[in-house]
């Protein structure tokens, strides 16, 4: 893909990123930070590609380390965010 197309995508993504979180109450800052944190765990895709193309053992070891770290970010991030949000559910169903 050419540079201009990539630049276009980047700039549009920046604006989307600004817009989606522009009006968030402080109540949700923590889950939002945690959710955004999980999303950048998608670096896992990059780590998998690099590991899949590794030609020598040293490269493979480092790439697999990246896969482990990225997976921890991705899986752990979504699980911990879900746990946080699970607690928000309870109080809406409360009797009071």
């Amino acid at each position: 893909m050419d540079g201009v197309a990539l630049l276009t995508i980047t700039v549009l993504a920046i604006f989307v990123g600004f817009e989606v979180v522009s009006k968030v109450s402080s109540t949700l800052h923590t889950p939002l930070m945690s959710g955004a944190n999980a999303i950048h765990g998608i670096i896992l895709v990059g780590a998998i590609i690099v590991a899949g193309q590794a030609a020598d053992a040293a490269t493979l070891v480092v790439a697999l380390l990246a896969v482990v770290l990225a997976t921890a970010n991705l899986v752990g991030g979504f699980v911990v965010t879900d746990r946080m949000l699970e607690m928000f559910r309870g109080r809406r169903g409360g009797a009071r």
């Binding site: 990539l6 993504a13 990123g17 889950p31 991030g77 979504f78 699980v79």
Partner: protein, 457 residues
């Protein structure tokens, strides 16, 4: 031979990117937050399956093994962590993500022919490394493995400047020559910079730094998308970078801080006001029964919960106390400081866990005028967020931070473990005021005693 054509691959990545946007959007409202997070996870799953089906990959058993290891480490920890320790866990996950991005960039250097790809590699390496080591330091601070006070030493700005200059020089060399060993030096410089960046940050500001490093990791991932020519990484990373920046600013303004002030404030000095020395001025301490009488015959009670409540796991007991007081016809409201706990919104999560009704939680701006009409302000395990020094003592580390105006209430009751100062490491004058009563002890024990005394009234 791959199962998916490039067109299908691109479409599936687009689907994943849309999922991430919907996830962030969903997370911005309490009603849709949980669904939003699940949509994000689904998007991630689509993306990971797509990469296996669309690329020519060797070593697949090894990769699957590494994914299993990563999941086996992270999922149980994320599931079992105490909600009080969640901020440092988020910091840790953020750090390893940054580390992964840096490693990916390092390995791609061998394949990079064009200079602009090397620029993206250098950026990913440096920012990913800063995020990794910086996050580990915030983890250590929040876990109290090290001091929570700002760490400043003579020459820190000089070392910091030298590290930055060296990093710029090394970056230039890597872009021109593509030498791997210089890239490793750059990685080490990034790690050092991350540590130096976070060391001078005071404990109370650490959450904002986590958010900032989160945005950094997003940017590193975006740049790695450029390196690999992968649009999904580019979009997802940019989304996190942009939203993380906004979130960081929102958090900082909730605390009356500027991001630059947090990062570089300690360099300018002046944070020496307020010593940790515990003064021996008299305070009025009392018994659980006295506190129960104060509460039980009030008309309006404002409860200010803080991190101490969370540490003692007292959120369920305080919810019971609220019910007991409401049964006596007393109005009970929780006054939530934006950074009560350790992160913005952290206390809301903890109280929601204890089934405290959403309607009785008030944000700071909404609740501050109500302290004047409150008979009792019950401060449980909070200190810095009610410290009047934030308004009255220029030069104090928390000066300028908006606080809950507890001192306006007719009576103030502190449930405290000891006279030790709060996370910011400064003393609270309010403890010595005539309207203040203290009840020492573990927050949960104290609350349990007060609760049974209220029931006995």
């Amino acid at each position: 031979m791959t199962l998916l054509s490039p067109v299908w691959t691109a479409l599936l990545y687009l689907l994943a990117a849309v999922c991430f946007i919907l996830a962030l959007k969903g997370l911005s409202s309490p009603k849709t937050a949980r669904r939003g997070n699940l949509i994000g996870a689904a998007g991630a799953l689509v993306a990971v399956v797509t990469v296996f089906l669309s690329s020519r990959l060797e070593n697949i058993p090894w990769i699957l093994g590494a994914i299993a290891v990563g999941s086996a480490i992270a999922a149980p920890v994320a599931r079992r962590v105490q909600m009080t320790q969640m901020p440092q866990l988020v910091a840790l996950f953020n750090g390893v993500g940054g580390g992964a991005a840096a490693l990916v960039a390092l390995l791609e250097l061998g394949h990079a022919e064009e200079p602009w790809v090397r620029v993206a590699i250098v950026f990913t390496l440096l920012v990913g490394a800063v995020s990794f080591s910086g996050s580990l330091v915030t983890f250590a601070k929040l876990q109290e493995l090290m001091t929570t006070r700002p760490v400043v030493f003579r020459g820190l700005p000089v070392i910091m400047g030298a590290a930055l200059l060296a990093a710029i020089a090394a970056s230039a060399v890597v872009v021109v020559t593509g030498a791997v060993w210089i890239a490793i030096v750059l990685l080490l410089l990034g790690l050092a910079t991350g540590v130096l960046l976070v060391l001078p940050v005071g404990g109370a500001d650490v959450p904002i730094v986590i958010s900032l490093l989160n945005a950094f990791t997003g940017l590193a991932v975006a740049a790695s998308g450029l390196v690999l020519g992968n649009v999904l990484l580019l979009v997802a990373g940019t989304l996190v970078g942009a939203s993380g920046t906004i979130l960081t600013r929102a958090m900082a303004s909730a605390m009356g801080r500027s991001v630059a002030g947090i990062l570089f404030g300690a360099f300018r000095g002046g944070s020496t006001a307020g010593s940790t020395a515990v003064s021996d001025r008299p305070v009025r301490s009392s018994s659980p029964e006295d506190v129960a009488v104060l509460l039980g015959y009030a008309q309006k009670v404002l409860i200010v919960p803080g991190y101490g409540l969370a540490v003692a796991q007292g959120q369920h007991t305080i919810a019971e106390l609220q019910s007991a007081l409401e049964a006596r016809g007393i109005e009970v409201v929780f006054a939530i400081h934006p950074v009560a706990g350790r992160m913005p919104g952290h206390m809301n999560v903890l109280l929601a866990e204890a089934n405290v009704a959403y309607e009785s939680l008030r944000e700071m701006s909404e609740v501050n005028p109500e302290f004047k009409t409150a008979d009792v302000a019950l401060v449980v395990g909070a200190n810095d967020v009610v410290n009047p020094a934030a308004k009255s003592t220029p030069g104090s580390p928390i000066y300028g931070m908006p606080i809950l105006e507890v001192e306006e209430a007719r009576q103030v009751v502190f449930l405290k473990r000891s006279m030790r100062p709060g996370f910011a490491g400064i003393e609270n004058e309010l403890l010595y005021e005539p309207q203040t009563t203290l009840l020492f002890g573990d927050a949960k024990d104290s609350l349990t005693k007060v609760l049974s005394a209220v029931k006995a009234l």
